[in-house]
Amino acid sequence: MPREAEPSLNERAFVVQALQEGLRLDGRAFDQFRGLDLKFGDHYGVADVTLGKTRVLANVSAEVTAPYIDRPFDGIFTITTELSPMASPAFEVNRPTETEVLLSRLLEKTVRRSNALDTESLCLIAGQKCWSIRVDLHVLSHDGNLIDGSCLAVVAALRHFRRPDTSIEGETLTVYTPAEREPVPLSWLHSPFCITFSFYGEEGEIMLLDATLLEEQLRVSSCIISLNKHGEICQIAKLGGTPVEAVSLIQCASAALTKGKELSTLLDQKLAEDSKRRDKGGLLAELSAENER
């Protein structure tokens, strides 16, 4: 199996030395993100997040299916995060790596278990028909901080997504095509964001945000905090690594809140821009649809 070459001793020593002097390789401040860009696709439910050289794409799709027998009043909501060799040849198809398992668990806990999407609203006919919402996360390029980027992409794509409108008359369910009725957004309850902290030094006293791949390879420990702009923590994961003073973790939480609010504002703003752009396009699309008929 092809393997990632690990950083040399020189790089290890230098990066840590520079951090101790308060310097990062790319000249960023310790709590500064790389250039963050969020784009929406032409279709609904496609979000493309670029974070420095890291790039992830989330794609939402929906279909009508039967609900799980033990949850007749809930729709189905899944997030798939299969890392393809596109991000790194070290990822093999059908063989999840630790990175993949942790990423998928984090998204699961942050977005699904925190009830960001109201799954009850996806129910059409109890016990018989419901919507199945599926998010596919594609990692196109991996240069560190996959988690923060992926979480933003998933939340953005879900908020951008429109599912076909439906109506129920008696026992008959009608699903309208986009030409018949304008698709509707999902019932969204809150937007959680992941913020990853990387720790360096003997006692983890140095703390970085948005670490690059090299920085991630050299960190002694990390802590991922997911929260929404209301200050509700959805998940905390400091999964082992060098022990860190409890006080600094509490500081992380408040730093995460600040950052989460920033991301939240950014997302709202991008969504607003997109709907404005779409409004213009919407008229045109209707016209062209008319013509084709």
Binding site: M1, P2, R3, G41, D42, H43, V46, K53, R55, L57, N59, S61, A62, E63, T80, E82, S84, P85, M86, A87, S88, P89, V93, S132, R134, D136, H138, L140, S141, H142, D143, P164, V175, Y176, T177, P178, A179, A285, S288, A289
Partner: protein, 252 residues
């Protein structure tokens, strides 16, 4: 819904891969990444040539048998143009990620597992070739590929190149061809019912789109002149690559 009729491409924009390309054409957008030659797993190792590994991933889901079929078609095609003998006991990995497939406003198909099928094959092939060029892997030649549908029309038949999803649904037969830059037919896949004559016509039409006979056999390498507007794929590939080379070698 607007369908891009003009092909568009972006090269080498995934910094972590050896070569990459995004290609949009006829409503499809595909991102390709190429890594190679890299270390190969023992079980896939070939003693005299590089193993070529093609992975096709749909926008939603991880794919099934249809994708595996497409992968095998692309794999056997690419093996013909890559100089695999240059890198024995290595691996050349081509990953093709579909990001946009044409949507049909008039049907609510089962979208969660969108079917990738023959119509996407030209876009996949084209992306793969651009990615390989971007990775500077030694090739025997480049290739171009196109799709055609034969539609019934007033008792007669009409050949449509790069048909829309709707047209494919109505068509009697559907064909995909790929040609190398040496004007050899390298891939032909057909579906539906058609006569030999129709197939010949389709082939000719495809050749016109990919490599117009006017320029084939042309020894002219200084094709800077834009007399022929880049409507055919050969010119498209050439001009895309030329731009990239120019910007890479800006210092020359």
């Amino acid at each position: 819904m607007t369908v891009t009729t003009e092909p568009e491409a972006l090269l080498s924009y995934l910094q972590k891969a050896d070569g990459s390309a995004t290609f949009s054409y006829a409503g499809y957008t595909v991102i390709g990444a190429v890594n190679g030659p890299i270390e190969v797993q023992r079980r896939d190792e070939l003693p005299e040539e590089a193993a070529v590994d093609v992975i096709v991933r749909p926008a939603a889901g991880v794919g099934g048998t249809r994708e595996r079929h497409l992968e095998s078609l692309i794999q056997s095609t690419l093996r013909q143009i890559i100089l695999v003998n240059n890198f024995p006991r290595t691996l050349i990995q081509v990953v093709l990620q579909v990001t946009v497939a044409p949507e049909n406003d008039y049907a609510n198909a089962k979208v969660a597992q969108a079917n990738l099928n023959l119509p996407i094959l030209p876009a996949l092939l084209q992306t793969a070739v651009l990615s390989l060029l971007s990775a500077a892997l030694p090739l025997r030649a480049t290739l171009a590929s196109t799709a055609l549908a034969i539609l019934p029309e007033h008792g007669d038949r009409r050949i449509i190149s790069s048909p829309t999803g709707r047209q494919i649904e109505q068509s009697q037969s559907f064909h995909v061809f790929a040609f190398t830059s040496h004007d050899e037919l390298i891939l032909a896949e057909s579906e539906g019912s058609f006569s030999m004559k129709e197939w010949d016509d389709a082939l000719a039409a495809a050749q016109g789109t990919c490599y117009p006979p006017t320029t084939t056999g042309d020894t002219d390498v200084l094709m800077d002149d834009d007399k022929l507007v880049g409507s055919d794929l050969k010119h498209f590939t050439r001009s895309t690559m030329e731009q990239k080379t120019a910007s890479d070698l800006y210092w020359k």
